[in-house]
Amino acid sequence: MSIKADFQLDAKGLACPMPIVKTKKAMAELVDGQVLEVAATDKGSKADIAAWAETVGHQYIGTTEEDAVLKHYIRKCADDTVVEKTFEQTIDLGEIVGRDGLILDVREEAEFAFGHIEGAKSIPMGELPTRMAELDKAQEIYVICRTGKRSDLAAQKLAANGFTKVFNILPGMTAWTDELKKSI
């Protein structure tokens, strides 16, 4: 299955340090929240991309491998970890298990693919305005993202469109320690 990314970088056949040098350049062109896919054949690039992303504060989402081609997914972050709560109806991450409702995951498709809560529905934040029809207003909707920031905005958007049973899950997937479902 292919994973959606905003930009693709082809670093196949390049030896270290070039995959990282090119990734660094490409990331500079992205805006916050966008996802870059880096295709590389240098096996060492996996550990290095992850470590590099951490040092500069980007989010390393994951890597797939197919036919000796590695595909790394990185999301550009600025200050994603700062949670500004504005949406009032929140629910603790620990309380959603076993509740009758829909977990709506508004992270990017690539993030969702590398690990989400079983049963969660994926609608990336950017697609929410055009895909609201897929949601049921009568159902409780628990919105989740990585840290609680994007889900907060999504919850506000839903509320503005007449959804009343909306909760923002705090904290986000970063605090989820149970099993992760993958779709890669």
Partner: protein, 375 residues
């Protein structure tokens, strides 16, 4: 200022001569923590290359100007980049050609000693990986024990010494590195021996190596005699060479002992390990010089670069030979073991002949330290 290219042999010389060297390792922190170039008098700085993409100014104060500086990475590309940046900043530095990959493969042949009637015993020290291979030479013939996969180094060495390789042994089925034994045998027409208890799953022909198997190298009196010594694996076999040297394989090292778990049967084999170390070896002469198949830390190297020590000294100093209580011994060698060697299960498959990965893949599999010991 230009950048100097260093070969693995240049670095090996620094290790063996106990020279000073400052290593700027630009791999990521995990890789460095896991495995690095070890030297008695080496100093290190680990800054991943990707933190230096915008320049090296910040680290300049940490780079000494009064000793050799070598930049090292996994393959060489990043170290060359960083070395050039340092050179542009006016620092005379070198980089390691081929990086840690080449370092992992480098072998340095060192003479251990003379044998009866003009024979010689050589130890091939694979500094980067801690593997030790041996060649016994006498009167135009040679035997090789625990050869690593770079067969050409052994066949070329034999050519230089003008000897014919007649016997090739593996003390056991290795789990940390890929054996070159059967390939050397196939190339030279030598006989390849493997302990049958380790060879139940192998898919090639071999000659059984059992307790008491003895071969003569050359016409005179150099005996290579096998001594069954299970524990690291169930087939592990030691050799006594010329009544002077004890090749212990992965059972006994200079500063540690073999771990019994790499074939998945720690609980079953710990008793064998105990018996080998505390009974069979005790019956041998304490004047035998122990020559193991590995070293783990640089302190195990002697002044001349060899890894060798009198058995009597090991009985006195090696922690693993001095655990009186059997239950304590059992617990030490089956619990809290260090992580297993990289790709050890696949490496066993290769050594059984079940899979034959490409050279590049074999290199990847052997990356990292050997980790065959428990201390």
């Amino acid at each position: 200022m230009s950048v100097q290219q260093w070969s693995a042999a240049d670095v090996a010389k620094k290790v063996i001569n106990n020279d000073d060297l400052f290593i700027l390792d630009v791999r990521n922190n995990d890789a460095f923590e896991d495995w690095k170039i070890e030297g008695h008098k080496f100093e290190y700085l680990n800054i991943p290359y990707f933190e230096l993409l915008d320049g090296v100014e910040e680290i300049l104060p940490k780079i000494p100007t009064d000793k050799d500086v070598l930049v090292v990475c996994a393959k060489e590309g990043s170290s060359l980049m960083v070395a050039e940046m340092l050179a542009d900043a006016g620092r005379p530095v070198g980089y390691l050609a081929g990086g840690m990959k080449t370092w992992s493969e480098y072998l340095e042949p060192i003479k251990v000693g003379d044998l009866t009637g003009g024979g010689e015993l050589y130890q091939f020290v694979r500094l980067g990986k801690g593997c030790l291979s041996y060649m016994v030479i006498s009167e135009g013939e040679a035997a090789i024990i625990d050869a690593v996969r770079f067969t050409e180094i052994f066949t070329k060495f034999a050519e230089e010494k003008n000897v014919e390789i007649k016997h090739v042994f593996d003390t056991h089925l290795h789990a940390d590195h890929i054996s070159g034994g059967r390939h050397i045998a196939a190339e030279t027409g030598a006989i390849y021996y493997l302990p049958p208890k380790d060879a139940e799953e192998v898919v090639f022909d071999y000659t059984s190596l059992v307790d008491g198997t003895a071969v003569q190298i050359g016409a005179s009196k150099i005996d290579v005699g096998a001594l069954y010594s299970p524990g690291h694996t169930i087939g592990s076999t030691s050799f006594v060479v010329d009544s002077k040297y004890l090749l212990t394989g992965d059972i006994l090292f200079i500063d540690s002992i073999g771990r019994p778990d790499l074939a998945g049967l720690a609980e079953d084999w710990v008793g064998d390990l105990r018996e080998t170390l505390y009974e069979r070896y005790r019956e041998l002469s304490e004047d035998l010089i122990v020559l193991p198949a590995h070293f783990m830390i640089i302190d195990e190297l002697n002044e001349d670069g060899t890894v060798a020590k009198r058995l009597g000294e090991l009985f006195a100093e090696n922690h693993g030979l001095n655990i009186e209580d059997e239950a304590k011994f059992r617990s030490i060698v089956t619990h809290n073991l260090p992580p297993q060697p990289n790709a050890y299960q696949e490496i066993r498959q290769v050594n059984m002949g079940k899979i034959t990965p490409a050279q590049e893949e074999q290199t990847e599999m052997e990356i990292g330290p050997n980790r065959c010991a428990v201390r």
